[in-house]
């Protein structure tokens, strides 16, 4: 399956059909994104490593690039076509692509199935032409595709995202624009970003199968509005889920005016309820909002799955209680500290006389990093504690960088036990949070988010065990 879509993600040559010099057009955005990495300036932008061709019958040169009248005029082999022309001439362009033996086309152009029956007919015609020549299509009516590792930005999105390990497939293109803008601010990155558009040909299930075998992808985030083939999705998600976690945000949950139906069951099972049931049944994690979608994805990509019994370490009593409340509300068991663990802590000579001696383990406000080091190590030695949330409130004597190091060292020493941190604060904590995150430790200012991330790891552990 990976091979079947490879021309989209690792092409050697790309043709932009409908390349334009008008800055407010998609054809301009796509060509510029390929040449420069993005339309907006960003440190992440780099020009595409492969060959780029511009096609526009009414121009000689755009952005210094020679323009071909048609894709047929290009003598070299083309792997991928990005089409941003008026919908009326898309069928002709697709025909030319098949004659040129191109195997992949991203159709940016709108004006197809999303318009209704007439548009759907046009879409089916496109597919017929493409199928005969084994040309695969992403779109139509989409933003395009990004693959940061090869500097491929075949879209008119704002710029290239950071290269990381979450694949993001979205049924909304506009949302991708905002997600990328947000992600750069958060140092969040992607292995691939695909806007599905109308999914006339390549659909969500096929992309999942591709991501399953993609070495760069460790978790798959989905933004869904609806599925065409629910049972096929479930089957594929189950298979992919054995290897990689899938996290979904589903829009369109409130079905107002649920029709009066003849049975109780009919009125009890709303459309979103059914989606949720299906997701649970095939091991897909459900995110409640955009933040959760990407936070759960990062946690699942960067931390191991675990069993349900975890500990909290904190240097602030209130923060610990708050986190414990959140853990309980999402269904996390808080482990009991064993006698052995407590005796080790007592004998360490590093604990404050008034430390809590129970979970959440409160190290007391004046805790320096040594106290964190001993507490983290001792807690993780306890066999039936499977994961840890480390909270740090920023007191004047706190050592955030050294505390972060303690967490990072513990991750290496106990690779099977996830650690999520909650460095509560902002400006003065930034450097240490960056250190944690570049070392694959997800950090959340809000302890509730830490609990949600930990719960995702627990769910993942449970799912993998039942397979």
């Amino acid at each position: 399956m990976k091979k079947m879509l490879e021309m989209f993600f690792n092409p050697e040559s790309v043709a932009v059909i409908g390349a334009s010099r008008k800055p407010n057009s998609a054809g301009y955005g796509v060509l510029k994104s390929l040449l420069k990495g993005g339309v907006f300036r960003s440190k992440t932008n780099k020009s595409f490593k492969g060959r780029i061709y511009a096609v526009n019958p009414n121009a000689d040169k755009i952005m210094g690039k020679r323009c071909y009248k048609s894709v047929s005029d290009i003598s070299a082999k083309i792997d991928l076509a990005v089409i941003a022309v008026n919908s009326r001439i898309v069928p002709g362009v697709i025909k030319e692509c098949t004659q040129k033996k191109i195997k992949g086309a991203i159709i940016i152009s709108a004006g197809f199935g999303e318009l209704g029956e007439e548009g759907k007919k046009e879409e089916r015609k496109l597919l017929e032409i493409a199928k005969k020549a084994n040309l695969r299509i992403i779109g139509p009516n989409c933003l395009g595709l990004m693959r940061p590792s090869t500097n491929l930005n075949a879209s008119f999105g704002p710029c290239m995202p950071l290269c990381e390990d979450v694949a993001f497939f979205s049924q909304s293109g506009a949302l991708i624009d905002s997600v990328i803008d947000w992600s750069l601010d958060k140092n969040y990155g992607f292995s691939a970003v695909v806007s599905l558009g109308n999914s006339a040909d390549v659909g969500i299930s096929e992309l999942l199968l591709w991501a399953k075998d993609d070495k760069q992808t460790k978790a798959i985030a989905l933004y869904l509005e609806g599925l065409k083939q629910g049972t096929r999705f479930m089957k594929v998600a189950k298979e992919v889920g054995k290897k990689k976690p899938i996290i979904v945000l589903k829009a369109g949950r409130t079905e107002t005016g649920m029709k009066a139906v003849g049975s109780h069951t009919g009125s009890l099972a709303g459309s979103y309820d059914i989606y949720k049931a299906a997701f649970k049944q095939c091991g897909v994690h459900i995110a409640e909002d955009m933040d959760e979608l990407f936070e759960m994805s990062a946690a699942l990509a960067k931390q191991p799955p675990c069993k349900n019994n975890i500990a909290i370490i904190t240097n602030g009593g209130g923060a610990g209680v708050l986190c414990a409340d959140h853990c309980e509300s999402v269904g996390i068991n808080l482990a009991e500290l064993s006698k052995e663990t407590l005796s080790k802590l007592d004998k360490s000579g590093k604990m404050h006389p008034a430390y809590s001696r129970r979970n959440p383990l409160d190290l007391v406000g004046d805790a320096l990093h040594e106290r964190y080091v001993v507490a983290i190590d001792t807690i993780l030695q306890q066999k039936d504690i499977y994961g840890l949330i480390v909270i740090q409130t920023l007191q004047t004597m706190t050592e955030p960088m050294l505390d972060a190091k303690a967490v990072i060292d513990a991750r290496k020493k106990y690779p099977d036990k996830p650690i999520i941190t909650s460095y509560m604060g902002g400006k003065f904590s930034r450097k240490s949070i960056d250190l944690l995150e570049t070392n694959n430790v997800p950090d959340f200012n809000n302890p509730y988010k830490s609990a949600v991330a930990m719960k995702a790891l627990i769910e993942r552990g449970k799912w993998l065990k039942t397979k």
Binding site: G230, M234, S263, T265, L268, D273, Y275, K280
Partner: protein, 213 residues
């Protein structure tokens, strides 16, 4: 189209789904010939009535044939007032236990969806249900029982004994199988399903078949 009581019972029998001892009759004249153990519940069965308890079409805990005669008389009066012509009476042995709902709905994206939850007349108020897409596995059934807010009722509460979970799993699996095999059946309401330590019985079965099938 809503199946009548006889057709619904035939489906239950076909899939070996347990229901209380039941008798169907037309008028008071038949009462003396009925072989059934009291106490019983009396219900109206008519294609003209969607929710029979809403029109007072159900009497429970009838303890003798004399009382039954009186209740039938009352129902006949109500049917006459409402000008309902096509009907039968259904008599059913009373069962004690906790009320659940087990149902099925056809969804255009996922196919047959099986629903489990707290049953009785308050289902639509409490909406305490869980669901899964057919075919169900045993794990799915267990999760469905675990997901409802009222799951403690399965363990027994006050006068209600703990229910036999194995029987509920069995029933859920049968509904899953039935739903996939009888493709033209589009909706099912088994409400209530009454469960106790020994058994889980379908006390009322409403089965809807697609019109064009």
């Amino acid at each position: 189209m809503l199946l009548n009581q006889k057709e619904a019972l035939d489906i239950l029998i076909k899939y070996n789904i347990a229901f209380p001892q039941t008798a169907i009759f037309l008028d008071r004249g038949d009462i003396s010939n009925l072989k059934i153990n009291y106490p019983v519940a009396l219900k109206i069965d008519s294609p003209e009535i969607m929710h029979k308890s809403d029109m007072g079409g159900v009497f429970t805990d009838i303890s003798s044939s004399v009382e039954l005669w009186k209740k039938v008389e009352i129902l006949e009066q109500r049917l006459k007032e409402k000008q309902i012509k096509e009907y039968k009476f259904v008599l059913q042995e009373m069962v004690k236990g906790t009320e659940f709902i087990i149902g099925m709905k056809s969804d255009k994206t996922f196919g047959k969806v099986i629903v489990f939850g707290l049953g009785g007349v308050f289902v639509e108020v409490l909406k305490d249900v869980s669901m899964r897409i057919a075919p169900l596995s045993i794990k799915d059934c267990k999760e469905m029982m675990d997901e409802i807010k009222g799951k403690k009722l399965l363990e027994g509460f006050r006068n209600n004994p703990a229910v036999n979970k194995e029987k509920i799993i069995e029933l859920l699996l049968k509904v899953s199988q039935l739903s996939l095999k009888e493709k033209e059946i589009s909706e099912i309401d088994f409400n209530p399903v009454i469960a106790n330590e020994k058994t889980a019985l379908v006390v009322d079965a409403r089965i809807i078949r697609e019109k064009n099938a």
